[in-house]
């Protein structure tokens, strides 16, 4: 079924964002006594800090506080997985952009002027800028620059390769991609006049951030509140702490609210990026095309600090096992190394799409060598819904993978391109598949809660700890509540992202929709019973005759009590219902590896390649998704299409290369993201065979759309030109040179 935008589909929240009326944390210039913060960043990628002298800065006009490492009240370290990143560096900087000092002043220009007179003496150190040789270099942390090494094995890979008739081996490279969210990192820290701090920031996990910030600020957890305000995009780039520690320290020092908002230059320089991956992949099959053996050796550059690197490595390797395909034996290993190349961390896809790019390219390479249709090769090797996952774990699909493949095969994009493309364009269509799991996976603690209540004003209030960074969770929740209670959107208030509210866990790993659906399925019937009980007591009507509906409680087809009346006359405080649930994992007794809830996508791409310049234009993308039930169509479309555009950027233009640890792009005029003119026509199909009785009919689709885009585009380029690109982003010059070589050979 094709999911099409419908008139009126987008709610008011969407329009507010499109029209620029939505208020973000970084818009809070109206706060009384607001100070502006700025952070001094390292000019060197790697250096000893010999001296940081702030004496002149403290005398600058408007300056209220200048802080350095010595002023961090608590733990001068943060990091979701490994707390290895200094809030303010003590004696060493490890990347260009490392924070050294921070200033609060009356105006942002005063704060930045003060930064310029902070005297810093550096003693430059050898820069570790090559991931390949990082382990031989002097360590940035501890004993070695090898942060993590992980391997997944299944069967006897050597023996399986020995039986292969056809083996392909290629090197793949993926870029250091930037999130390029509309709203750069920012927010405000507000002293609560009781020794604590309230943060209103764009972030992805209010509760987790509150824990880290309490440690940094030397406060009790109860003294730190994080309000994860709606954010202009995050995509993983705000999962880690950004400006919060510096803003919090300055707020405590000055007793005033402190706003820090990075400009685009600072965001480019200091924000985390997608891990660049270099990998060699070897895959073999028998004469019939059955894949027997698969080997992966990967190297991920995590930059100066761990951030979520170890988890990214795990998810990369999980996807590198080719989870959609039945492979007799594999050996998949990866190393994660520290370098002075910025910091890499969470990014939509979370390592999985880098692996899928290579895996799907390998499938095409095998098919070519076998002279077999790539889709037929996939069909032969696809898992069935009854088979375990690639790591032997129980998995739960929402449709048979073969059906998703068949739908891709029926895409209209396989028809020849229209004649409007002139003779200079070479056109081609290609496809790729991808799988994406929901949840943190691998047995990590993963749970989340939510709350429903009737407010004193008669509003149905839903509370979750998730952050809204553009996916418009509030409207998705509203849709589910209206569907269950029969009420209308105007009856509902949704409160998100407050660390004082229910802890839903991080807004990441495509887990929000699953947990929201699960929690609502638990609390809404109970809440409905509760209000019907109260309404029965107030009206004297039998409870069984009462049901909730638009604006209030109904009986016999007419409203007998509004929600406001119920709140005024009843006991709304007794309608507060909390629930928390563990993220769905495989049934007890199964090994907690990988992810239980699985989604699939097939992306069919049609491209035009400029014969004259090698430039690639993606004209169409057709996504066949199997991701459970659609609860909020605009959100579903937005996630799949938006993620696909990010995948397109990764495939064609986006990269943040470094030289001696310095980024070679510093703003969006140098770092090339797709514009709307680069966005192809897109079609999103939904394939859902989930039975109505399924306990987990709703899945999270925040990352699915990016999974197969890059390999589909490269497959289409190959169909158009005969040239397979294995290093991203696609280099038009390389493609042109190959085209010229082809022409010379032919002539």
């Amino acid at each position: 079924m094709e999911l099409k935008p419908q008139p009126g589909m987008a709610g008011t929240g969407v329009l507010e964002r499109i029209e620029g009326r939505f208020g973000y944390a970084t818009d809070q210039h109206h706060l009384p006594g607001l100070l502006h913060g700025a952070i001094l960043r390292s000019r060197h990628a790697h250096a000893r800090l010999l001296r940081v002298d702030t004496s002149r800065a403290r005398l600058m006009p408007g300056v209220r506080a200048v802080v350095t490492a010595a002023d961090v009240p608590g733990l001068n370290r943060f990091g979701i997985v490994v707390r290895d990143q200094p809030v303010l560096c003590e004696d060493r900087v490890r990347y260009e952009g490392d924070a050294i000092a921070a200033v609060a002043a009356d105006t942002v220009e005063q704060a930045r002027a003060a930064l310029e007179v902070i005297d810093v003496d550096y003693a430059p150190l050898a820069v570790v800028d090559q991931a390949e040789t990082a382990e031989q270099m002097s360590p940035l942390h501890g004993e070695s620059n090898l942060l993590a090494r992980e391997a997944f094995e299944r069967g006897d890979t050597d023996a399986a390769f020995a039986r292969c008739e056809v083996i392909v081996e290629h090197h793949y490279q993926t870029p250091r991609q930037m999130h390029a969210f509309m709203e750069t990192e920012g927010g405000v820290a507000i002293p609560d006049n009781n020794g604590g701090v309230i943060f209103r920031v764009g972030c992805q996990s209010g509760h987790r951030d509150a824990e880290q910030l309490a440690d940094i600020l030397g406060l009790k957890p109860s003294q730190v509140t994080v309000e994860a305000t709606p954010t202009g995009g995050a995509f993983g780039g705000k999962d880690e702490l950004t400006i919060q520690p510096a803003a919090g320290i300055l707020a405590l020092q000055t007793g005033s609210p402190v706003l820090i908002h990075l400009d685009r230059f600072e965001s480019c320089r200091t924000g985390i990026k997608r891990h660049p991956v270099s990998m060699i992949m070897t895959t073999g099959c028998d004469r019939q095309g059955r894949i027997l053996a698969h080997r992966v050796d990967a190297l991920l550059d995590t930059g100066a600090y761990a951030s979520l690197g170890p988890a990214v490595l795990e998810n990369f390797l999980d996807h590198a096992t080719a989870p959609l395909y039945r492979i007799e034996a594999y050996s998949v290993s990866g190393r994660l190394v520290y370098t002075n190349n910025g910091v890499s961390g969470a990014f939509r896809g979370f390592g999985g799409n880098q692996a899928t790019f290579a895996v799907e390219s390998q499938i095409d390479a095998l098919a070519e060598k076998l002279a077999m249709c790539p889709m037929e090769l996939r069909r032969i090797n696809l898992r069935t819904v009854d088979e375990p996952g690639s790591r032997g774990q129980v998995v739960r699909w929402t449709a048979p993978p073969s059906n998703v493949l068949a739908e891709a095969g029926a895409s209209p994009l396989w028809a020849p391109a229209g004649s409007d493309l002139r003779r200079r364009w070479l056109t081609g269509t290609g496809m790729a598949m991808g799988a994406q799991g929901n949840g943190l996976g691998d047995g990590l603690p993963d749970s989340g809660g939510g709350r429903v209540s009737l407010t004193a004003e008669g509003r149905i209030r839903l509370e979750f700890g998730f952050s809204d960074y553009g996916q418009n969770l509030a409207e998705a929740i509203t849709c589910l509540v209206c569907e269950t209670l029969g009420c209308v959107a105007g009856d509902i208030d949704v409160v998100l992202g407050n660390s004082r509210g229910p802890d839903s866990g991080p807004t990441s790993a495509s887990r929000s929709s699953v947990l929201i659906h699960g929690v609502l399925a638990d609390i809404l019937p109970r809440w409905n019973d509760c209000v019907r009980d109260q309404a029965a007591a107030l009206t004297g009507l039998p409870r069984d005759q009462l049901h909730s509906g638009p604006g209030g409680l109904f009986a016999g087809g007419r409203q007998v009590l509004s929600y406001r009346e119920l709140a005024e006359k009843g006991q709304p405080e007794q309608t507060l219902i909390d629930a928390s649930q563990a993220f769905p994992v495989a049934p007890e007794g199964n090994q907690p590896v990988g992810r239980y809830l699985q989604l699939q996508i097939s992306t069919v791409a049609r491209v035009a390649v400029d014969r004259l310049t090698g430039r690639v234009r993606v004209t169409d993308l057709h996504h066949i998704t199997a991701a459970g039930r659609v609860i909020y169509p605009p959100g579903y479309l937005g996630q799949i299409e938006g993620a696909a555009i990010m995948g397109l950027g990764m495939a064609l233009s986006e990269d943040m290369p470094t030289r001696q640890g310095h980024y070679l792009a510093d703003n969006l005029d140098q770092y090339i993201i797709p514009t709307m003119q680069d966005v192809p026509d897109q079609r999103v199909d939904v394939l859902d065979n989930t039975p109505t009785t399924d306990r987990f009919p709703v899945r999270g689709v925040g990352e699915l759309g990016i999974e197969a885009v890059a390999p589909a585009i490269c497959s289409a380029i190959e169909a158009a030109t005969g040239i397979r690109v294995r290093h991203l982003p696609v280099d038009a010059g390389y493609l042109l040179a190959e085209l010229c070589a082809q022409e010379e050979t032919c002539s």
């Binding site: 310049t613 090339i672 680069d678 042109l736």
Partner: protein, 277 residues
């Protein structure tokens, strides 16, 4: 003349810049000399350049588009005169452009983004070697320049060689090119709002072909290639590729892949102007 400090931007925190607003072009020249200041009009190139380098000028001389001859188009016996402070968006809307330079209106969609086209001026684009400079070079436009010694009109290419620091570009005159065949091609990194890798202009004036390129390797009139093409009179010849490659390489276009693209783009554009497509 008015003199004001620019408003401080609370977000970008740019330093205060003294913006001088002269009453006349002559006064603008005088102030530019006095303060060693740059002229500014749309500011779309100066702003990101200074912001990137964190090197803000102390003083700018703001130009006024209401000064006679500085804005708008005027068709006359010598051709089409374009005021330097005409915005790129305004240029694209002009009916006279469709008469004189039919491919340009469409091409302007690929120059910068809508916001920049609204503010950015034709003169600014020429001065920084932007997308229009290759076309101006190939058309042999004459520029109208004011400086402390007076006013003068001279070929664009000569002005680039002789330009003085206080030269103020009032406008330029395109020869009457109605009936000429003109092709333009831009190679960027994406479909729109892309940094230019190369912009190639190919003009056939009914007698001879003229070629110019701007972009990563700088602005260049492809004299040797023109000579080769015009003398051979075989506009679609593949041999032209080797000539243009040598010429580009000799003038600082170091990226071999980019030169390869320009060879093929040139052949295509030559074919278009030869065939009149």
């Amino acid at each position: 003349m008015s003199d004001s400090l620019s408003n401080l931007n609370p977000v970008t925190a740019r330093r205060a810049i003294r913006v001088l607003r002269p009453d006349s072009p002559d006064q603008a020249v005088s102030l530019a000399r006095q303060f060693s200041a740059s002229y500014t009009a749309g500011g779309t190139w100066l702003q990101p350049t200074h912001e990137r380098d964190q090197c803000w000028p102390e003083t700018l001389v703001a130009l006024n588009s209401s000064w006679p001859g500085f804005r708008g188009l005027d068709a006359g016996p010598n051709g089409l005169t374009v005021g330097a402070l005409t915005s790129l968006a305004e240029l694209a809307r002009q009916a006279l452009i469709r008469d004189y330079l039919p491919p340009l209106a469409m091409f302007l969609n690929r120059v910068a983004g809508p916001g920049v086209r609204t503010l950015g001026t034709v003169g600014g684009n020429l001065i920084v070697g932007g997308d229009l400079s290759a076309l101006a070079m190939a058309l042999d436009v004459r520029v109208d320049v004011i400086n402390h010694t007076g006013e003068r009109a001279l070929p664009f290419s000569r002005w680039l060689r002789e330009r003085a620091s206080d030269d103020l570009l009032r406008g330029f005159t395109i020869p009457d090119c109605r009936g000429w065949r003109i092709s333009l091609e831009k190679l960027g990194y994406r479909e729109r709002f892309s940094p230019t890798r190369a912009t190639l202009a190919c003009v056939h004036d009914g007698d001879r072909v003229r070629l110019a390129v701007s972009g990563e390797g700088g602005l260049l009139r492809l004299v040797a290639t023109e000579t080769f093409v015009n003398d051979r009179a075989d506009l679609a010849s593949g041999d032209v590729g080797a000539v243009i490659d040598r010429e580009l390489a000799a003038h600082g276009w170091q990226d071999a892949h980019l030169r390869m693209a320009l060879r093929r783009m040139t052949t295509e554009l030559l074919s278009e102007v030869a065939l009149g497509t």
